[in-house]
């Protein structure tokens, strides 16, 4: 017996975004080897060009007709994959723009490797979102994880970063073990690794929890749910998130918090909400419980944090909880709301990490809540931007975060799970507390060492001369000028956060299309 499978040009066109990112990664490595060290900062341009090329690929695929499936049903370029790709590309592009200046400040000399690894991680995220086969989901996951392990440990000589990379590796590959065992059992129960085959099997066979393939499938679903819950950092599988997010370089944290989540949520949608939809009764309870635990626990734990990076890490756990509502509902409206939420979360969360990055000094100094005291008088523009991002994360009307929360809570009510809405709203109330705490520190608490009266009318133009030398040093230390590209990234994130809040309709219709709604 022989297998013949011809790969056509159309197959390659279906993975155009992945190819563009991959080529950009290889180009970065090649050019890095050829140019002198002082020019290496310019490598970010190749990365951004790669993201733009991938974006062009997505637009081309949106316009193309015909079957979206490619490579014998291994990957697809359906609207769900394309929407996820857009979100991942937005996060990658913004993270790339935030990096120049910051990574030099952290003492990184190997900038070429940094940008190449970021592009490879983005390739893995896009590939995972496009996978329609358990094998490809695993490969996409590993292609995104391996560069991220290295990126987390990237800052030279920073013990925190090495610790972050180590923890991420150990816990993530531990979770991969569960994920793979789950996949193996699902393969054993259904005889297929492609999601269409799994769906066909469970739709045509009656399942019993005690006989036949039933117990194996149940075990497989449970293990797969555990593995993916690790990846989206759902409570109780969240322990790695704060440590890894805090220790990693901030652009990496921004990319990880959005891109990995988006890819893993698409995998959850494809496996549970689509392929295993016929046996929804057997897995819905797990997702329901995970959603509640993550929403409530994430918000409560975030409220106790004193480091802003760590606070944002716990806030990202809480947001994973709101997103899990969409999975637990299993309705198309729930999936559409989840996708819109993820897009909104991408701009506001990367934006918030962008401001943290602009204020951060070497080795994670300058990320404590105390360092943000009186920020409004020292860096008014940055403080205002962070305030907008935090209001959006809290869900204040007029921002993307409000529309996203509204959509997902409305989907929960119409999907017959009003209790998830009630718990979600209560959890967001706790969320207000810690987001406002940061804003309070920036606007209403005078900076340390600075006399209150002086802080009240501190004006950067005239007050520098009158301050004592300690304060001047302090101001100089926190006054790292914002790189042009980082400013551009923050401006884009601001436009996205406010734009998606005021004109949500186009993106909502795109999300509904991705979820298969008219």
């Amino acid at each position: 017996m022989a297998f013949t499978y011809a790969i056509s040009g159309g197959d390659w066109a279906r993975i155009a975004p992945e190819l563009a990112l991959l080529v950009a990664a290889l180009l970065v490595m090649l050019v890095d080897a050829l140019i002198p060290a002082r020019l290496r900062g310019a490598l970010v341009i190749i990365g951004v060009m790669g993201v733009l090329a991938a974006l062009a690929g997505v637009i081309m695929l949106y316009a193309s007709s015909g079957s979206p499936s490619a490579f014998g049903g291994m990957v697809t370029s359906d609207p769900l994959a394309l929407f996820a790709t857009l979100v991942i590309l937005a996060a990658t592009g913004l993270s790339l723009l935030l990096s120049p200046g910051y990574i030099e400040r952290q003492g990184t000399r190997q900038q070429g490797e940094f940008y190449a690894l970021v592009m490879l991680a983005a390739t893995g995220m896009v590939l995972m979102a496009a996978s329609t086969n358990l094998m490809m989901i695993f490969l996409g996951l590993e292609l995104l994880s391996l560069p991220l392990y290295v990126l987390c440990a990237f800052a030279p000589g920073q013990q925190r970063a090495q610790e972050s990379g180590m923890k991420y590796f150990l816990l993530s590959s531990f979770a991969s073990g569960f994920l793979l065992y789950g996949m193996a059992l699902i393969y054993g129960a259904t005889g297929a690794t492609n999601l269409g085959g799994i769906n066909h099997f469970v739709a045509t066979h009656a399942m019993s929890a005690t006989a036949g393939f039933g117990p194996i499938l149940l075990g497989g679903m449970a293990l797969l749910a555990v593995g993916l819950a690790f990846k989206v950092s759902a409570i109780p599988f969240h322990a790695w998130t704060p440590d890894v997010y805090q220790g990693a370089l901030t652009p990496v944290t921004a990319l990880m918090s959005v891109g990995t989540k988006m890819a893993a949520f698409v995998a959850l949608i494809r496996v549970f909400d689509v392929a295993l939809a016929p046996v929804r009764a057997d897995w819905q309870g797990i997702m329901w419980a995970l959603a509640i635990l993550t929403m409530v626990g994430g918000n409560i734990l975030a409220a106790t944090q004193t480091n802003v990076k760590r606070l944002l890490a716990y806030s990202s756990i809480a947001h994973a909880g709101y997103l899990l509502i969409g999975i637990a509902l299993g309705t198309q409206a729930g999936i559409a709301a989840l996708l819109y939420y993820m897009a909104a979360y991408a701009v506001m969360n990367v934006g918030a990490f962008g401001v943290v990055l602009a204020l951060e000094r070497v080795a994670g100094l300058g990320t404590n809540l105390d360092d943000y005291r009186g920020l409004a008088s020292r860096r008014p523009a940055l403080a205002a931007a962070l305030a907008v991002f935090l209001f959006a994360l809290a869900g204040i009307p007029g921002t993307a975060g409000f529309v996203a929360k509204y959509a997902i809570f409305a989907a929960a009510v119409t999907g017959g799970h009003a209790e998830l809405t009630i718990i979600g709203v209560v959890a967001s109330m706790i969320g207000f507390y810690y987001y406002l705490r940061v804003i309070w520190a920036m606007y209403f608490v005078p900076a340390p060492d600075m006399p209150a009266a002086e802080a009240a009318n501190a004006n950067p133009h005239l007050s520098l001369a009158g301050l004592n030398s300690a304060v001047v040093t302090k101001l100089a230390a926190s006054g790292t000028p914002l790189a042009f590209s980082a400013g551009l990234a923050l401006a884009l994130a601001l436009i996205g956060t406010l734009g998606l809040g005021i004109f949500p309709a186009p993106l909502i219709s795109l999300a509904r299309q991705a979820a298969g709604l008219p």
């Binding site: 695993f138 590993e142 972050s164 590959s173 073990g177 065992y181 054993g188």
Partner: protein
């Protein structure tokens, strides 16, 4: 004596539990890594066992398991390379690879 599918599945499950116990109980980072590798190999045994049980099904069903196992072996090798590099970097700084001592960040 013919070994049935169940024997292999039980072997896979036992190995997975041994690996899990090793990954959770060991303090040396390299031992934890070995525990994780045992978990992955338990998955490989399970996949190949299922694959041979599907020998009367279509090619696709039968070969998927074996191909999957090959992918897992390859990826596990890449993971081990990254992990050992990280462990060496940490060892150079701290002269220790005890995971309980890697604790700069907490709560």
């Amino acid at each position: 004596m013919l070994l049935s599918l169940n024997s292999f599945l039980v072997l896979g499950a036992l190995l997975f539990c041994i690996g899990l116990f090793g990954a959770l109980s060991k303090r040396n980072a390299i031992s934890v890594l070995m525990g994780i590798e045992i978990m992955l190999n338990a998955v490989n045994i399970t996949l190949v066992a299922f694959s041979s049980a599907f020998q009367h099904s279509a090619h696709g069903a039968r070969l998927s398991g074996q191909v999957f196992a090959v992918f897992i072996i390859t990826v596990a090798a890449a993971e081990a390379a990254v992990a050992l590099a990280t462990i060496i970097a940490i060892y150079r700084r701290k002269s220790s690879v005890d995971v309980t001592e890697i604790n700069m960040m907490k709560w």
